[in-house]
């Protein structure tokens, strides 16, 4: 059989299997399982697209939380009914066009992505004038600016009160369908001539320029694509948590994403998926360590934040013993699976 066709069939069956598993969870799983799975999907979207900027282009971008926030607010404001908005905005009424608009969930997600992209475009010029630590600081600063604006613009974001009572539209189908789309889009981009150019910029920007590659254009492309998916994921998160406030998506979230892609392996989509899964699952499973414990005669009271200590330890262990993360820059491929199977048989 044609190798390309074979892989397409395998890919489609893998996705089919995934959705069958999701169907099983949707039908027979507990609410707890469903929540973890939704979280995993959202983190996959965030990590895979974030990896495009940090892992493939090699730019230390520390502001995805800004785009997640923008996406979350945009999507939430678009799905709330005018009546709900009137009740929510008690201190200052919502400004005019937003106060009457209501669109379906799917459309709000796309608009959320686009609005994030527009903001990313607006800050792209100052961002890509600098590199390295300076770029990190500019993007970090933008994240803070967005948080402050969310607090201050009462007429748009309802300020510190946030938006409450959003409809829990996000279900397994939405989150996982978008996660699959994200992976496919990012993978296709990485494995195209554009992805190659982005990697060249990561490896050596001066040499890339000498080979005719315009760094600004390519970094901008990655930055905008990341912003789009961050915005969409923000919309999903808003309708998963159903309550958003300016302090919900802080730098802390960016730090988690950074941890995910570093542990998974910078530059590897497979690594980002594994990292996101471990993180989203781990942060639920590790709730045990935050509850009071009795080990023998030793009593440990519940310490909130213990999970983060464990994550930090894992991060340090990875950085000391496996500097390239779980996957390094490698990717999962069917060829690799075939090779493994073949070796077992001979």
């Amino acid at each position: 059989m044609d190798k390309g066709l074979k892989k397409t069939i395998l890919n489609i069956s893998a996705i089919g299997l995934l959705f069958f598993a999701l169907w099983l969870f949707d039908r027979y799983g507990t609410e707890y399982h469903v929540r973890i799975l939704n979280n995993i999907a959202v983190f996959i979207i965030l990590a895979v697209s974030y990896n495009l900027v940090n892992g493939i282009c090699g730019v230390l971008h520390l502001g995805p939380n800004a785009f997640i926030t923008i996406g979350a607010y945009t999507s939430a404001l678009l799905t709330m009914s005018p009546a709900e908005k009137k009740i929510s905005f008690i201190i200052e009424p919502l400004i005019w066009p937003l106060s009457v608009i209501q669109v379906p969930f799917w459309m709000s997600l796309i608009i959320a992505g686009l609005v994030s992209t527009v903001f990313a475009f607006l800050i792209s010029y100052p961002v890509f004038r600098v590199r390295g630590d300076y770029l990190a600081i500019v993007t970090l600063g933008f994240g803070e600016v967005v948080r402050v604006l969310c607090n201050a613009l009462q007429g748009v974001t309802n300020g510190p009160l946030g938006l409450k009572g959003l409809k829990p539209y996000t279900n397994l189908w939405w989150s996982w369908a978008i996660a699959v789309i994200t992976i496919v889009v990012i993978q296709r981009l990485i494995n195209s001539s554009w992805g190659r150019a982005m990697k060249a910029i990561r490896e050596d920007e001066i040499a890339a320029k000498a080979m005719g590659i315009d760094p600004f254009r390519h970094l901008l492309m990655a930055f905008l694509i990341n912003a789009f998916f961050s915005g969409v994921a923000g919309g999903l998160l808003a309708h998963l948590i159903t309550t958003i406030s300016p302090t919900l998506f802080t730098f802390f979230l960016t730090f988690n994403l950074l941890m995910i892609i570093v542990v998974g392996g910078l530059g590897s989509t497979t690594g980002a998926v594994i990292g996101a899964t471990l993180f989203a699952w781990g942060s639920e499973a590790l709730r045990i360590v935050e509850s009071p414990m009795q080990i023998g005669s030793l009593y440990i009271p519940g310490i909130p934040g213990m999970r983060m200590v464990i994550f930090s330890v894992i991060l340090m262990v990875v950085i000391i013993f496996a500097r390239k993360g779980i996957m390094g820059q490698r990717e999962f491929s069917w060829d690799w699976v075939f090779a493994k199977i073949k070796r077992k048989h001979t």
Binding site: W194, A210, M211, I213
Partner: protein, 260 residues
């Protein structure tokens, strides 16, 4: 009067109080091989950096095919047909040898971004064409066996060859080689000279070569420019340069020690 192929007019580069290059003027005709020599710190690489747009000259002009290209963006200058290699090798270390060369075709890609995302027939055939072309260039420099290896795993001499292959893939008319023979043994240097000359003929190239290996430069170049402390002290055929008193004094040492 015909077209100006390549010319620099009074190119000067100042870093603060230091004049790295002073009034560098040269005119090059198609198909020439020019040698740029001089002691360390003479400003040879600075000249390359100005031509390729990595440095913006303090004053002076660079004309390429009748067009003023002074201070244009480096990547844009490459698309106009001027390519270079680097003295301190700058390969894309984690990319495969083949990918290193394929990167150079990106600026000439005709397919759109959406073609690439949707993997249209147009994109796939272009990608296939690029892969074949890149492979052809690798075969020419003798690196086809390493195509799938990461570039950083190559031995030093091969890395230099890959630098040349990568620059060739951008489809240049003018190629700037910055110390291509550095770290090569005499035998390899000899082969390199032969290779560079064959490149000139098969790719219809014009070359400017910076090199410290006098045997290499004298054997390869048709015209040599000598830079000392940013000043052009001599220009001419290799035989004349060898006997030029200023050059001997400044660069090759006293006459009785000179190898030529």
């Amino acid at each position: 009067m015909g077209q100006i192929f390549f010319q620099t007019q009074n190119l000067t580069m100042q870093f603060g109080g230091l004049v790295a290059v002073h009034n560098f003027s040269i005119k090059i005709e198609p198909h020439e091989i020019i040698g740029l020599i001089g002691p360390n710190g003479a400003g040879k690489t600075t000249v390359f950096n100005m031509i390729t747009g990595n440095l913006i000259p303090t004053s002076g002009k660079i004309i390429w095919l009748d067009r003023d290209i002074t201070a244009l963006q480096p990547h844009y200058i490459t698309t106009l047909g001027i390519a270079r290699t680097f003295q301190n090798i700058r390969l894309f270390g984690n990319l495969s040898v083949l990918d290193n060369v394929m990167v150079s075709y990106h600026h000439r890609l005709k397919s759109s971004f959406w073609d690439a995302m949707l993997r249209t027939r147009r994109y796939r055939s272009e990608e296939k064409h690029i892969r074949e072309e890149a492979f052809r260039i690798l075969t020419m420099v003798g690196l086809d066996h390493f195509a799938r290896e990461p570039a950083s795993s190559l031995p030093y001499g091969q890395q230099r060859k890959l630098e040349i292959a990568r620059a060739l893939a951008t489809n240049p008319k003018l190629l700037l080689l910055d110390e291509p023979a550095a770290g090569m043994n005499p035998q390899e240097t000899l082969e390199l000279a032969r290779f560079v000359r064959s490149l000139r003929d098969s790719f219809d190239l014009t070359l400017i070569v910076i090199e410290h290996d006098m045997k290499f430069v004298m054997g390869l170049c048709e015209r040599i420019v000598v830079l000392v402390y940013g000043h052009t002290i001599a220009e001419g055929r290799p035989e004349d340069i060898q006997h030029h008193p200023e050059v001997i004094k400044a660069y090759l040492g006293e006459k009785r020690h000179a190898r030529y």
